[in-house]
Chain length 353, copies 2
Amino acid sequence: MKHQVTIIDIARQLNISKSTVSRALTGHPRVKEATRRAVLDLAGQLDYQRNMLAINLSSSRSKTIGIIVPEFVTSFFPIVIMGAQEVASESGYTVLICQSNETYEAEVANAKAMLVNRVDGVMVSLTRETKNFEHLAMFARKAIPLVLFNRVCYDIDAPKVVVDDYEGAFKATEHLISTGKKRIAHLAGPLSLYISRKRLEGYKDALRKHNLPADEDLIISYDLDLSKARMHVKHLLDLPQPPDALFAVNDPTALEALLLIKERGLSIPDQIAVVGFSNDYGSALIEPSLTTIAQPTREIGRVATQLLLEQINTDASTWKSVTRVLKTELLIRGSSIHGASGCSILNSRNLAE
Amino acid sequence: MKHQVTIIDIARQLNISKSTVSRALTGHPRVKEATRRAVLDLAGQLDYQRNMLAINLSSSRSKTIGIIVPEFVTSFFPIVIMGAQEVASESGYTVLICQSNETYEAEVANAKAMLVNRVDGVMVSLTRETKNFEHLAMFARKAIPLVLFNRVCYDIDAPKVVVDDYEGAFKATEHLISTGKKRIAHLAGPLSLYISRKRLEGYKDALRKHNLPADEDLIISYDLDLSKARMHVKHLLDLPQPPDALFAVNDPTALEALLLIKERGLSIPDQIAVVGFSNDYGSALIEPSLTTIAQPTREIGRVATQLLLEQINTDASTWKSVTRVLKTELLIRGSSIHGASGCSILNSRNLAE
DNA sequence: CCATTTTGTGGGAAGGCTCCCACAATTGGG
DNA sequence: CCCAATTGTGGGAGCCTTCCCACAAAATGG
């Protein structure tokens, strides 16, 4: 195992001090041009690599940002992370990803892991069961910048990046109403999640605006455990007065619904129309293809990371908890209107671009 | 910004030396039980967190493994990474993910970034255009363990984790033959990728075994740029003697083919059957659902990481370049046989479990 | 009861870098 | 031409651990 080249090696060979080498390498202005060139040349020759371990210790910054996401199974979070990675690496930051597996315990454990690894900032999207936010408050106490995204909460004072869930749900519901549907069901997420509440609100307000009754029987809130989605849809279909449309809290749920409805031989969208939220993989592929609310997934990651880096690079006292709301787009496809379909698989992935 | 608690703080408060605190904290046997307890208690009280930055510098190990993947768009790599993350974090390792965006330049840049970040080991899946392996050889020179997975090459002496691509392709092709197909086309990947060559071989050998001619017109190798897949399929369908089946190098390609075939109104699988490779998202959702070769995606990540950690924890001289070959499974669905279908979205995600 | 081993503790170097302070060398203005 | 400002360089502390060496105290054995 050979000795790694250090700035001291360079200093010795050039007969200068390690301080000067350090300055030359970091682009400090107070270095003679000739010296700088000599240092850089020799560094190149010796294949010198700056030792991040030492730099990190010395500067007490890890140049790492942490991201805690609830899951990795749907396409949403991987794409968010892609966006985050791009912005982070542009600024020389590394990304540490933890997955909380939709459990509160894992989320808390991950938060601790972030501390141990001395990340310079953290981005979090909550699990479906997180109701206590002490582990997030801890970041504030340690002056570690925090940005919430997607699954946010308002119990914690931190910048947030979300899409306009209310408006998205409103558009989705209004679209169904515009196709003549009268009994529109909503399969909602857990109401502990702000995101679920907002979507529910948008749905209700759209009904109200168009003077449709909000039948409580048609609203089901569930914990996003996909294996239960089918059961809830079954319940809705078996109502004495079944719905003629379903707005699901997200695409996986909507897809489950679609599959069940197809099994039952109901005609889509005539007997029952379906709309999802997210434009996940597969939503464009299923037949009929799923009408859904597309969100700028990658952009969420980019914006959240920018916000985080801004915080990292400013004094804690100047932090302010802005909320960035990104726009959604209604994608009308076959599950709500006849004949809207026929797209390439590339389209189904457009959010990743 | 408050001063972080260090072992020196603990030492001072207990009137002992920092060496003793360090020993107590790291579980060194030569510490009196009472002392150890006192240290641990106070550490708990003060909410002491070991400073990984210092530990890393001191031990010259970052406790980080790097993963370079070509893309993040299909579900394959995110799931591999999930598996890797699990194994890594069990051993206290952090994962640094880089995405090379299917370009050689980015892959080289990522490799450099790995060095700068002083990762303890690297896992790489090559881009579709990588033909020069100097950047990988560099790891060997610096005694940094390397494991190749999925998209591997044999120009570099390193452990590899792959699935049995040959056998998978063989099974896929034989399955098509068993349904009576005679003119089976193969839309292959770039032959610079070992994985593409193996799948092509398996395909050819299956034809040979069953005394079917290997018509070179029916074999197309392309660069995996999905936007071109459609064109190649078009070409095949427009042949004077079009194929009656298509085996595609991966699922995204197969899905593109399926969509085009549906547009043309050909009956599937009667006029033309399709088989893919990977069991990606969406493959179970499209109609007809796609017959494909499932691979133990998550397991690939787990095994590769285990192999890497083994290398990290042993002397470089004992490293041996084993190749771990994981088994694939043929999933027969509607694109090759009538009536095989009807699955929940959960099944389409079974590889993530 | 003394010599030897074991146990527990302290001191300090090492790891590689940054950054502050001090000082030498150069430049510029009056 | 001299004093002040600027520019360039060196020295060394600090970041927080780990780990080796040294040594005191206690335990063990003949």
